[in-house]
Structure formats: structure tokens, C-alpha cells
């Protein structure tokens, strides 16, 4: 992966915080271990961890299926929303015949996503007809923490819908970087949907619902599933997720609960020189980064750690004691402690002038089949958000080009998209600002 994801999973006073403990009352040893971790987290100043619900106080049956994220708001959900365990990315060709059809698409997406994120009775029809709902979640659709985030690609701004003059200024088709081999069947798209929820089935249900409602408007172009370990998610930021190279990934990610920081780094704002309709939106980078895991597993631990710049077991930067210890790069100008080409050092040099290059990462692991050579096809579904693509991802990627890690990774797909601003109320719809901007 080009850089290690991921946002530190924040402590969060959601009911799920106590669930992991509550589910295992028969395992006091494990609970004790987890409480130990919680106090460890407190010692590094994790906010909110003191609100963890004691074991046994949760209502039985609280299995997370009723967790939900609000649909309405000035920003879409799914960007700074804490990451649930399952993700599904689908990129589409938009089939809408004209701009009126495009509006129908955006209105349909708005209606379906608002319903799916809230839940309710699955639509039914006389049994002689195919059922309008796939039934994957049963007769009552539950929210299961679902977010569906709609983003548009550069190709939507071609000559079909007359949107060229309001294209976000930095939205272009992803060009291949030196180590990239972007497959035609896994790149770009007019529109991307990012589904995130507690379970893969909920994402699939949502996708099938949307496809059922948009037969003449959307054709899937490529798709990929992602996952994170549910046990780590349940620890709510006390632990960093490991990627499929076995390294902790996301230790230094931004705190998505810091609104001011998100306004600065993630959301497009007035004064940015971007078209007015984009305010409240964000540039989304999606990269499918295959990892050559067999080869990685045949690489000496010392070399793995040199390439990444962290201890594999603890996640601590090399020569430091703890995962969250700050490396002192000015005191190590020759890279004797952490090599100059180490992934973490290139990705985040921790200089004042590189503060503007920060991005909010939202990565997932992925695993597909096998390569044609019979090797495992798995890696990182890298995603990040930023208000300025050039200052954000493009700058960081430029620093990472030719890093030693490239021998073990190969970006094979992805694209740049622009996350539409949110829908503040029931009268509005996704993309309304974009369409109104062209009359």
C-alpha cells in the first residue's frame, strides 16, 4: 500500500462500546484483558474511553443491527463517520440519457439511501411478481450502521450532461504512477458508491436495492469488497487495525471527530477557488493496492520493518518504545534510526510544511481470488478524503513514488471521485447543487 491507512478508530460512546464485553460474560479473563487495554488507552489520552459501558448493562439482542447514521446533514455520511467492519465500493457508468434523467438518478439515489440508512418495512408486491426487495435482510430492513456515500468521477463532466464548466477544478481521471498497473476493468467511473456497514450482507442488500431502482440509469463498472477485523472495531480506537502485511496501519491518521481539523483538511470550503456547489464535498481517492503477500512473508522481519519504519509486533516507530511515540526526524537526519525511505517517513515527514498534505484515510483490507499465477490476490482498498487533491494525495503519493515498499505492492485499480455535498433536509436531493449550477 502506498501508505499505511488508517484513521485510529476513535473511542466513541456508542452502545457498541460495551458490547464486546457484554457478549462474553462467561469469559472474565478476556474482559479483564480488555479493561486493561482500556486503561492503557486512557494513559495515551484517548477521549471517551472512560464511557465504555460496563459489561452486562446492555439489553440482550443489541447486536448492532439497529445502529444507524443520519442521512441528512451538510456533509454526506461515510466520510468522517467511524469505519464499520464491512465496505463495498462500486463504480458505475451513468446511463442517464440527458440531464433530466441525471436528476432522476440523483433523486432516486437520495430516496433509496435515506430509506436504507434508516430501515423499515421492505417493500412488497403481490406474490405473482418478483419481490421488489431482495429479502437479504428479511422482511424488515435494519440499518446496521449503513452509510452509502455518492461521489462523481471526472467523466460525468464530459459532453453528455453539459456539466463541464462546473467540474471540480482538480477532478481528473487517475493517471498511473510509476509503480501502477491500473487495469481497465478496475479503474475510473462516472459515479462511485461507497457502502459501509457492520456486515457485508447489509452492503449487498443496499447495492441490490439501488440497482433494482436504477436499471436504465446505472451500469456497474467495477466493484470491490473490503473488510476490517470486527474485534478491533469493537475496541473503538484502543487498537490500530493491522493490514495484510501484518503491520499496524493508521496510527497517525487524523482524528475524524475533530470538526475544525475536518473543515481544514477534508471539506471543500468557500474561498478554495472551487465551484460554489462543491462546498461541503470532498475529493475521494480510491486505490486498489495489491500486496504480494507470499513474497512479503518470505522477507526477513528486519527488512520488513526497515521498509515500513515500524516494529511489526508493537507498531512502535523503529528505535522507539510505543506505537504512538513521535519519531524525531530532525534528530535523525541520515535515517540511522528510521530510514529516509521508510514508508512512514515518506508518507508523513512530520514537518510544519507537510501539515497541509495531510489526508483522512479510510482503508479496508480486501481479498479476492487468486492471480493467474495462483498467488493470493489481496491487499489494501485504500481510500482517502481531502479538500485539495493536489496538496493532499498527489503530494503524498509523489513522496512515496519509488519507495522500497513498491517491490511488494502493485496498485491495480481505482479512481478519483468527488463526494457530493450532503442533503440538509428532506426537500433537497444529492447533486441538486451541481444540477442547479448549470441551470
Amino acid at each position: 500500500m502506498k501508505w499505511l491507512w488508517d484513521r485510529r478508530l476513535r473511542a466513541d460512546p456508542a452502545p457498541s462500546s460495551g458490547r464486546a464485553e457484554g457478549e462474553r460474560p462467561q469469559q472474565p479473563g478476556r474482559r479483564g484483558l480488555m479493561l486493561g487495554l482500556a486503561s492503557g488507552a486512557l494513559s495515551v489520552g484517548m477521549p471517551g474511553s472512560s464511557q465504555a459501558t460496563p459489561a452486562g448493562e446492555l439489553a440482550p439482542g443489541d447486536d448492532g443491527t439497529q445502529d444507524f447514521q443520519p442521512f441528512h446533514g451538510s456533509h454526506q455520511a461515510g466520510v468522517i463517520t467511524p469505519q464499520p467492519a464491512a465496505a463495498l465500493i462500486v463504480s458505475f457508468d451513468v446511463l442517464a440519457a440527458d440531464r433530466a434523467d441525471l436528476e432522476r438518478l440523483f433523486r432516486t439515489l437520495t430516496d433509496r439511501i435515506a430509506f436504507l440508512m434508516k430501515g423499515g418495512d421492505a417493500p412488497t408486491r403481490d406474490r405473482k411478481f418478483p419481490p421488489p426487495d431482495s429479502g437479504v435482510l428479511g422482511p424488515i430492513v435494519f440499518p446496521d450502521n449503513l452509510t452509502v456515500t455518492v461521489a462523481v468521477g471526472a467523466s460525468l463532466f464530459d459532453d453528455r450532461y453539459g456539466l463541464a464548466k462546473v467540474r471540480p477544478s482538480q477532478l481528473v481521471a487517475m493517471e498511473a504512477f510509476p509503480n501502477d498497473e491500473l487495469e481497465a476493468s478496475l479503474r475510473h467511473g462516472d459515479l462511485a458508491l461507497q457502502f459501509c456497514s457492520n456486515t457485508a450482507e447489509t452492503n449487498i442488500h443496499a447495492l441490490r436495492d439501488i440497482l433494482k431502482h436504477t436499471p436504465d440509469l446505472l451500469a456497474p463498472r467495477w466493484k470491490i469488497d473490503g473488510f476490517l477485523p470486527p474485534h478491533t472495531i469493537k475496541k473503538l480506537g484502543k487498537e490500530t487495525v493491522r493490514n495484510l502485511l501484518g503491520f499496524k496501519d493508521g496510527t497517525a491518521n487524523l482524528d475524524a471527530s475533530d470538526e475544525e481539523l475536518m473543515d481544514e483538511i477534508v471539506w471543500v470550503r468557500p474561498g478554495s477557488g472551487e465551484p460554489e456547489w462543491t462546498h461541503g464535498g470532498s475529493y475521494q481517492v480510491i486505490r486498489v493496492i495489491r500486496m504480494f503477500v507470499e513474497r512479503w512473508d518470505r522477507t526477513a522481519l528486519a527488512e520488513q520493518q526497515t521498509i515500513i519504519g515500524r516494529e511489526k509486533a508493537s507498531g512502535a516507530p523503529l528505535t522507539l518504545a510505543n506505537e504512538r511515540d513521535e519519531p524525531d526526524y530532525p534528530a535523525d537526519p541520515k535515517g540511522e534510526r528510521i530510514p529516509l525511505t521508510a514508508h512512514i517517513r515518506l508518507a508523513n515527514p512530520r514537518k510544519r510544511e507537510t501539515q497541509a498534505n495531510r489526508i483522512l484515510r479510510r482503508g479496508y483490507n480486501y481479498s479476492r481470488g487468486l492471480s493467474s499465477a495462483g498467488q493470493l490476490d489481496m491487499g489494501l482498498l485504500f481510500m482517502c478524503f481531502q479538500s485539495d487533491l493536489s496538496a493532499g494525495f498527489l503530494t503524498v503519493q509523489a513522496r512515496l513514488n519509488n519507495e522500497p515498499l513498491e517491490e511488494y505492492i502493485k496498485p491495480v485499480g481505482g479512481g478519483y471521485f468527488f463526494v457530493l455535498p450532503g442533503v440538509p433536509s428532506g426537500e433537497s436531493f444529492l447533486g441538486e447543487g451541481l444540477l442547479r449550477a448549470v441551470g
Partner: protein, 387 residues
């Protein structure tokens, strides 16, 4: 498809056998003469047969699927029938004294009679009411015309299939490679037009229209026969060597198919459901160009599936229009859209350009009308009340 259908048939047969066996099984486990303890099925209409007749003697049901539970409290084994005039609509035979059986059947709105034990007993009255104020579903009678016309169409197509397959196989056996190549697509498309009917004959479908992916050893598998095996020989290998026995088998299969179709009474659901089957073929296979991978004549078959679906829609058009004019209009609109896109690739010989000429843009554009057709045609059976 055909395999599933056969499985479904044998399952329902098993179900019948099980239903017939049920009373005797119960006899062994219960005191003879005691009433069957089977609970009344939820929503079922309960009818008790006594020595004097049906109790109640008159029942009503909504149109559609209804379950009857028939309990025999008379002294002899009886059969229970639903009659429409002299026609037996459905029946349960050999209900032993003291036992009950259920019958689930689909009834159109109208007046029916029930037999009630002894022939001398008065017949019961069964009234089936239309469920809503919407236009009544077309009756089975209204499908008789379209079914007869469709049978003629299928016979016409299979006649052409025989004729054109002969042309193909003769050319193959005479080692006339160019003639064989020209004869391939026109012959195969006849099969594609009537695919839902042809696929009813699982064995023939396997030997006539399999693809190399269906076999362990792919194209080298000796079981790989039929159109696509010949297609591979004459387009990919560019040789007729070794194809003569395969040509003979294909010709024999085509004649066999013709004969079997002659004898076939096409069930309504094959007619009405066939349009959706054909479009699903297009959506899942033709659009990807995997059907005719050696000859690249996929667009011929694309058109053929479409023609087959359109023929069915045309035959049912008055009925669809009566039930759902919006659906009818949208079906036509989307057929026209597909025609316009496919029309760009028509070639002079009545056929089409190579699949490779199909641009990504047009392939993507085709997905809109094809997917809408697939969605709409999937509602056709429901719209016309055919199960």
C-alpha cells in the same frame, strides 16, 4: 434451466406420492377410524364430506391460490373434485374415511362446482371472486390464440434451423470451409430465437449448444459437440478435419428437436416467461461476447434472442396493453432503443459486423434498455396472471 425444471417436476411428483402415502402412514401410527390430527392449514377453506354431501355446501374464495382442506367423515373413500362445467379443474383422490387432505390450487374468478362423495349427492357450489377492482386477469382462454401462434412461430424457426443446419453440416462434410463459415451464424440464430423452448430438451441442448467452458477438458473434451464445436473448428482451427461425425450428430439432433417440438404442447408459462428468459440470456451472455467467441458472430445471436422475446411480446401485446398500458409502452420503447443501437452494426448479408466492432460506449449504452427490458419482462407472468 431445463435441469432445474426437471428437478422441480420430480419434486412435485414426489410431493404427490408423499401426499398419497400420508394416510396409510398415519393408519399405522394412529387408531383406525380416528380423525386425522393434521392441523388445518392457515387460511385454508375447510370442507367436510359426509354421507349426505359437502359441509358447507357453498363456499367462496378469492381468485388466485387457495388451499382447501377436505375432511372425509363419510363411510367410504371419496374423491373430491373442483369442476368447471364438465372439466375437472383439480382433484384429490382416495381420501379415506376419517382422514383429511389438502389441495392447493389456483383459480380464476368464476363459478365452479365441487363433487361431494356419492354421485347422487348434490354438488357443492364454489364461487371465486375477483380480488380487486383492477382489470380482470386474462383467462386461460385468452392465451389459447397466442399459444397457437407461438407454436407456429417455433415450428417455423425449427424448420429453418433444420434447413440451415443441413447447409452448414453439408459444407463441413464437403470440406468447404468458407461456405461453412457463412452458414454458421444464420443456422445458430434460429436456435437462439427459440432458446427457451429448445432448452426444454435438456439432452439436445447439451449436445447442440454447449460451450467449451461446460467441460473439464474445455474444447478438447470429446463431449464438446454441437454448434460451438463446429464453430471452433471452422473459425479458430480453420479446418473441417474431424468434424464430420460432429456434423452428423448435430444434424440428427436438429431433426430430433424438430420432431419433439412438433409433439410439444407449449405451456403458457413457457410462452409468457420465455421473453424474460431470452432477455436474461442477452444480459448475462450476449452482451459479454462469450457466446460466439471463435466466429465473433455474437451480435447475430443478440438480435436472435431479442427477436424471440419481441415475438412473444407481440403475440401477447393486446393482453399486456389491457393489463398495464404503461408497461406495454415501455416494452416497445426499449425494444426500439436496442434496435437503434444494434442497427449501427448491421452488415449487408442480413447479419452483423464482428462483435469486436462493438464499441465500449455502445456496449454500455445497450445495458440501459436491456436491463429495463429484463426488469419489465420479469413482471410479465405476474401481469398476465400466469404462474
Amino acid at each position: 434451466m431445463s435441469k432445474a425444471r426437471i428437478a422441480a417436476r420430480s419434486l412435485s411428483r414426489l410431493g404427490k406420492i408423499a401426499a398419497l402415502c400420508l394416510p396409510s402412514v398415519i393408519i399405522t401410527s394412529q387408531v383406525l377410524g380416528q380423525a386425522n390430527a393434521a392441523p388445518v392449514a392457515p387460511g385454508a377453506i375447510l370442507i367436510t364430506l359426509t354421507d349426505a354431501g359437502c359441509q358447507p355446501g357453498s363456499v367462496s374464495a378469492p381468485e388466485g391460490k387457495t388451499t382447501f382442506q377436505i375432511k372425509n367423515e363419510s363411510k367410504r373413500a371419496v374423491e373430491w373434485e373442483i369442476l368447471k362445467g364438465v372439466m375437472v379443474v383439480d382433484e384429490r383422490e382416495n381420501i379415506l374415511p376419517g382422514f383429511a387432505q389438502t389441495l392447493t390450487t389456483t383459480l380464476d374468478a368464476g363459478d365452479y362446482q365441487m363433487t361431494c362423495g356419492l354421485l347422487s349427492n348434490p354438488k357443492g357450489i364454489l364461487t371465486v371472486a375477483a380480488t380487486d377492482a383492477a382489470v380482470a386477469k386474462p383467462s386461460a382462454m385468452e392465451l389459447v390464440g397466442p399459444l397457437a401462434e407461438y407454436k407456429l412461430y417455433v415450428k417455423g424457426e425449427v424448420g429453418s434451423l433444420v434447413e440451415l443446419t443441413r447447409k452448414l453440416t453439408d459444407a463441413v462434410k464437403a470440406d468447404k470451409l468458407a461456405d461453412a463459415q457463412l452458414a454458421y451464424a444464420p443456422a445458430h440464430l434460429r436456435y437462439e430465437r427459440i432458446e427457451p423452448i429448445a432448452e426444454l430438451f435438456n439432452d439436445l441442448d447439451g449436445s447442440m449448444d454447449s460451450r467449451e467452458d461446460d467441460f473439464d477438458k474445455k474444447a478438447d473434451d470429446p463431449k464438446f459437440l454441437g454448434f460451438h464445436r463446429i464453430e471452433k473448428g471452422i473459425f479458430a482451427d480453420k479446418s473441417t478435419a474431424g468434424l464430420a461425425p460432429i456434423a452428423d450428430k448435430l444434424m440428427a439432433d436438429a431433426l430430433d428437436l424438430q420432431k419433439r417440438i412438433d409433439d410439444l404442447a407449449i405451456p403458457p408459462k413457457e410462452l409468457v416467461g420465455g421473453a424474460a428468459d431470452l432477455i436474461e440470456e442477452v444480459a448475462s451472455k450476449k452482451i459479454t461476447g462469450e457466446e460466439d467467441r471463435y466466429s465473433r458472430t455474437d451480435l447475430w445471436d443478440f438480435q436472435a434472442n431479442l427477436d424471440g422475446a419481441r415475438k412473444i411480446v407481440a403475440l401477447l401485446d393486446p393482453l399486456i396493453k389491457k393489463q398495464d398500458p404503461t408497461l406495454d409502452a415501455r416494452l416497445h420503447e426499449n425494444f426500439v432503443k436496442v434496435d437503434a443501437l444494434l442497427g449501427k452494426y448491421k452488415a449487408g448479408n442480413g447479419g452483423f459486423e464482428s462483435y469486436e466492432k462493438l464499441t465500449d460506449k455502445d456496449r454500455t449504452a445497450l445495458k440501459a434498455p436491456i436491463t429495463v427490458l429484463a426488469e419489465d419482462l420479469s413482471t410479465l407472468k405476474g401481469t398476465l396472471g400466469v404462474e
